[in-house]
């Protein structure tokens, strides 16, 4: 299976570049138009059912009361902040090695969504933290690592915006995404180190294995809903990006003709 895929990739790069770039996105446009309604339906169902479960079925926490329900947004958002970066890394590898014409579009499209979910995780964490710690923001290891992840997302997006030529931007951005992937564990380690060094006041752990199973189910359903929502928005963004590039090509043709 892998071999066939690699062979296909090589074969395609041998073909005329213009046909290659045109054919694949066209297929994606057709495919995504068919798939999108289902993705939205799954996202809607997941988020709807999950939120119903988390608001009306899940019991309030014996310590935290109703504010524990913020977790049902916070944890899935934190999951998607990682998921988004994973997609960027996978797409960047595809873009760099196989020169797949959709890969850089996928990476570019995933970044802002990942950034928004990272931001959402931070905001939800802060709102949760207020009744817990008495302050919206605490420089604990997990929060701080998430903040650094947000910066890497923003830097990646800034790179795309700054470089005009999409081909060059794609290449450079892919390198950044991969360097980021290598560096993220190091950053996390150093932040943990920094944090233990300063021994902060007792911090309530936001997640982990202590969650009761009656809370786990709604969490799982919301996370699935959020993930499909992520994929749906990503497809829409990819379609928009493909169309944007086509418009640009048409404009250049019009200017030339």
């Amino acid at each position: 299976m892998t071999c066939r895929f690699v062979a296909l990739g090589l074969h395609q790069t041998d073909m005329a570049w213009s046909i290659h770039t045109f054919a694949n996105p066209t297929r994606f446009m057709r495919f995504s138009a068919i798939v999108l309604p289902y993705v939205w339906a799954l996202a809607g169902a997941g988020i709807g059912i999950g939120l119903y479960l988390s608001f009306f079925v899940a019991p309030p926490d014996y310590q935290q009361g109703d504010s524990v329900r913020i977790m049902f947004v916070h944890v899935p958002a934190a999951w998607l902040s990682q998921f988004g970066y994973g997609i960027m890394v996978a797409s960047s590898i595809m873009a760099l090695i196989f020169r797949h014409p959709l890969a850089d579009v996928a990476a570019k499209s995933a970044a802002p969504i990942g950034a928004v979910f990272t931001f959402l995780a931070l905001v939800a964490g802060g709102l949760w933290g207020k009744p817990m710690w008495g302050t919206y923001w605490v420089w604990d290891a997990r929060t701080t690592s998430t903040l650094v992840l947000l910066f890497i997302y923003l830097g990646y997006m800034a790179l795309w915006v700054t470089i005009e030529d999409p081909n060059r931007a794609a290449r450079v951005a892919a390198v950044l995404a991969l360097v980021g992937a290598v560096n993220l564990p190091i950053i996390r380690f150093s932040v943990d180190w920094w944090n233990t060094l300063h021994q902060p006041a007792s911090v309530f752990r936001l997640d982990g294995p202590t969650i009761h199973s009656s809370l786990l189910w709604p969490l799982f359903v919301v996370a699935i809903g959020f993930t499909f929502f992520f994929l749906g928005v990503m497809m829409v963004r990819m379609r928009a990006e493909i169309l944007r590039r086509r418009v640009r090509t048409l404009q250049m043709q019009q200017a030339a003709g």
């Binding site: 005009e164 640009r248 404009q251 250049m252 019009q254 200017a255 030339a256």
Partner: protein, 213 residues
């Protein structure tokens, strides 16, 4: 603010230009009146661009005098002259119309004139495109369209035909001819014989350091 002010004369007397340590030219004197055109010829470095920038007020005068006299006393170079240099002053992110629209607003020209100015250089159908997708020649035409848009009697043109095709050069020549007939004046540095009537050449090479020193 300014409605087709007229130029009486452009008088240059004993003009000199020093750039860095090098004397580019000196003892330059000429006069251009309404309906006249002066073509600056000479080798590279003879100071054609410098002279145009001096007239435009964009370069210091080392010695001598430049007098731009309009039909009224209170008119300055800014009210009388329009400069088109090597660079097109075109912003890539803005559309063709937005580019020209800015200059129209900036010079207080009614926006109805934009379409006509674009049409002169065959850019009418490209108005909505971002200027970034234009070719070098098209950008140049967009820059030159300012001449048609903004009504100024004295045109200062620095190699206006660079990267233009034959059709565009013809359009430019038409525009210049019309300008001269309406009592405008032109000082242009160009290597191309534009075939305009009543053009006087000024050989900048004769005023360079090589001839005198």
């Amino acid at each position: 603010m300014t409605t087709s002010e007229a130029l009486n004369t452009l008088t240059v007397t004993g003009l000199a230009c020093v750039r860095g340590e090098r004397e580019v030219f000196r003892d330059l004197s000429f006069r251009v009146g309404a309906g006249e055109m002066l073509t600056l010829v000479g080798p590279n470095g003879s100071g054609k661009s410098s002279l145009l920038r001096q007239i435009a007020g964009l370069l210091d005068i080392t010695a001598g005098e430049i007098l731009v006299e309009g039909s009224r006393d209170d008119l300055s170079v800014a009210d009388l002259a329009l400069y088109a240099g090597h660079l097109d002053a075109v912003k890539s992110p803005l559309s063709v119309i937005e580019n020209l629209g800015f200059w129209a607003q900036f010079y207080g020209v009614p926006s109805e004139k934009i379409a006509a100015a674009l049409e002169i250089f065959g850019l009418g159908h490209l108005g909505h495109l971002p200027a970034g997708v234009l070719s070098a020649g098209q950008k140049r035409r967009l820059g030159l369209a300012r001449l048609a848009l903004i009504d100024r009697p004295l045109w200062l043109l620095d190699e206006p035909t660079v990267s233009l095709d034959t059709a565009s050069i013809a359009a430019l020549v038409d525009l210049m001819q019309g300008h001269l007939q309406q009592g405008g004046a032109i000082v242009a540095a160009t290597h191309v014989d534009l075939g305009l009537d009543g053009v006087r050449p000024l050989d900048m090479g004769h005023h360079g350091r090589g001839e005198h020193g």
